[in-house]
Symmetry: C2
Subunit: 434 residues, 2 copies
Amino acid sequence: MGNERIATESDDTAAAQRRGCGPLHPLRGDSDASVAPLRQLIFESVRAEGALSRVEIARNLGVSPASVTSAANELIGAGYLEEITAPRRDAEPTVRGRPPVALAVQAGAGLVAGLKIAAATNSAVLHDFAGNAIADVTEPGVGNAVSPDAFDSIADTLLTTLLDRAGRTRAEVHAVGLGLPGFIDSAAGTVLWSALLDTAPVDLRDRLATRLGVPVVIDNDANLLTLAELWFGDGRAMGNFAVVTIEHGVGMGLVLNNRLFRGARGLGTELGHTKVQLDGALCRCGQRGCLEAYVADYALVREASTALDWDPSELVGSGRMLAQLYEHAKSGDPAATSIFRRAGRYLAVGLANVINLFDPELIILSGERMEYDFLYADEVLAEMARAAIQVDRPAPRVEIHAWGDLIWARGAAALALSQLTAQRLGAPGVLEDT
Amino acid sequence: MGNERIATESDDTAAAQRRGCGPLHPLRGDSDASVAPLRQLIFESVRAEGALSRVEIARNLGVSPASVTSAANELIGAGYLEEITAPRRDAEPTVRGRPPVALAVQAGAGLVAGLKIAAATNSAVLHDFAGNAIADVTEPGVGNAVSPDAFDSIADTLLTTLLDRAGRTRAEVHAVGLGLPGFIDSAAGTVLWSALLDTAPVDLRDRLATRLGVPVVIDNDANLLTLAELWFGDGRAMGNFAVVTIEHGVGMGLVLNNRLFRGARGLGTELGHTKVQLDGALCRCGQRGCLEAYVADYALVREASTALDWDPSELVGSGRMLAQLYEHAKSGDPAATSIFRRAGRYLAVGLANVINLFDPELIILSGERMEYDFLYADEVLAEMARAAIQVDRPAPRVEIHAWGDLIWARGAAALALSQLTAQRLGAPGVLEDT
């Protein structure tokens, strides 16, 4: 298996434009680009629904049954789809003749892996082509910043552990998706800055592909969590929503019109580094007044030693310090309470700014720190609603998803699967080569 | 002429989705909706380019010449397009036979008016169907908040003055676009809140249509300025940019993928009311710490009386106060300088937040206050770049457009024309009725 580049989400956008999603003045669009291959649309449809008949596919995609049959035969021939006996639907009338046939993804067509590497916890999942999880791993994270070589090693070992657990081989893995915190240019495969790496920029996608011997796609971890919500979670029924993650940092993913928004230059939304105070608290990024510098773990921890009268030289993990701080706040300690209260108020301002700028239908709060309910206390949400512009409608709904660490890795696997599909099925002629 | 509802920009978005701009999983899209009528695409193409041959249209839209001919004949028959002798292009080879024929918009098919109503200055333009400006008016604005009846009157008189100047009648006007500051739900035609109206919400579109006897479409003024940039300005060559306007308030329009972004619920981007300081300066909207409360006219004026030792009871227009404050700052007065310096620093933070969240290719600063260069002084732009996330690429370009007041009205006229086109040509069967 080579390490060819996997097409990325921005290619999906280009594909959408090829489908005619152009500007108001059509002449400004990619006027002579062709449409995305029908076989890719068919495969995506079937994967999303589990199983679909050719007639249902044709109806859903608004194309003729004949063209579906032709493209589906290609996909079956290449081993991506298979015919199964259609699941009986209660609402359907009984028809005479042979039993109805549906198309399903050939789950055995290959494997994809999703890895999430982070300071506190690393996780990984192995999926088949139909998106079923086969195995997973969760282990301690990398801690402080490491060299690119050390990072590659960690990813390599994580993948080996995952495959060992599943009893599968690396040769069966068609693509690896990797999520990590920081500024990631997913299209270029470059880490522009990450707290996990001691140097920047790093062409992580290509060097990791060489190391693993498998094509790799990388992305910001908050983006992957957002993709997981879009594909497996509440986002399935919603076109416009924001996911705000609070862990060691504050991340955000934004879905606009059912697609992950990455900004004009691929860098996406960096809510954690928007400024909520001129000349404010010092952030890990070196700037002052970032939202993250008031809300993230390290921001709370650096005040905890004052509130709890800890010896700053004492070696205490930040997780333990936070847990203790939370206990103190729960029992009414005023200093501890004021730390959480301030963090909650700044978070409310940050969320209100998201509402004022994006006007989403839903905000999902996620990440490890959702274990601390101060972050979504009634008073925080009320302050958020007050700081949003006051019009004739309520502030958007806020949901708390205290999902486990594996959901990040699932997002990474979904990204790998999606990009692999786009690459294998998206370009004319490539199907014949696989 | 009735006052039927004019389709709005959000309908354009729906049209784009009908053209296949759906989600990653096609099944979630409007799977059984039909594509936007070819005749609308043809009309928009011709209007954008001035004149196009049928062959060029077919090539640009990627459809067969036969279908272009058929739809174009409909448009010619209904009086929207006309045949002209094609302008000679230098690059084209000379061909024998009859002279080449192009299609052009039938400029005489009707008129649209664009009105901008504001505190300081009202303006209006009259356009023909091809988008040519025929007449314009600029007059003093409404000053403080007025009743909806008084507002209707002002718009009515403004339209009459415009038509008198052009020597045309109201019956010739097919649609009026109106821009005003505030929170506007353009799709619903409702003003949710505006500093110009003494009550809220106001169903301005429908009541104004009744009063004027012409279909009306309303929008936030910053959105209209953004549309003007997209259609007539620098935005023509750019898919993703932000327009930030500074006048009596701070407005913002955002173009993503060549389209005006209105948020999930139609309210769009309200940069002026994002918070840059917890518990900060009091804003006109009643909240604290809004960007507008540090940067807009009223924010500077309320400190000016302190800096200039003015008697607060003295009646001085805010324009004159600002001009005097600016003079003092220019001559080195420390108090006056510090007022502008602070405003510039907060603006830098606001723009950096736009960069961190949207990552645009370009930020256009516009509006009356661009006459004061402190808002785009080198130190402001440097502070903006420092407060944006630091990666391997420069901060987006910032351009200053100190355009006159009429560009706002041109945006309103363009909106009216675009929506009228979508309504007349966008729905099956409607062409026959016009």
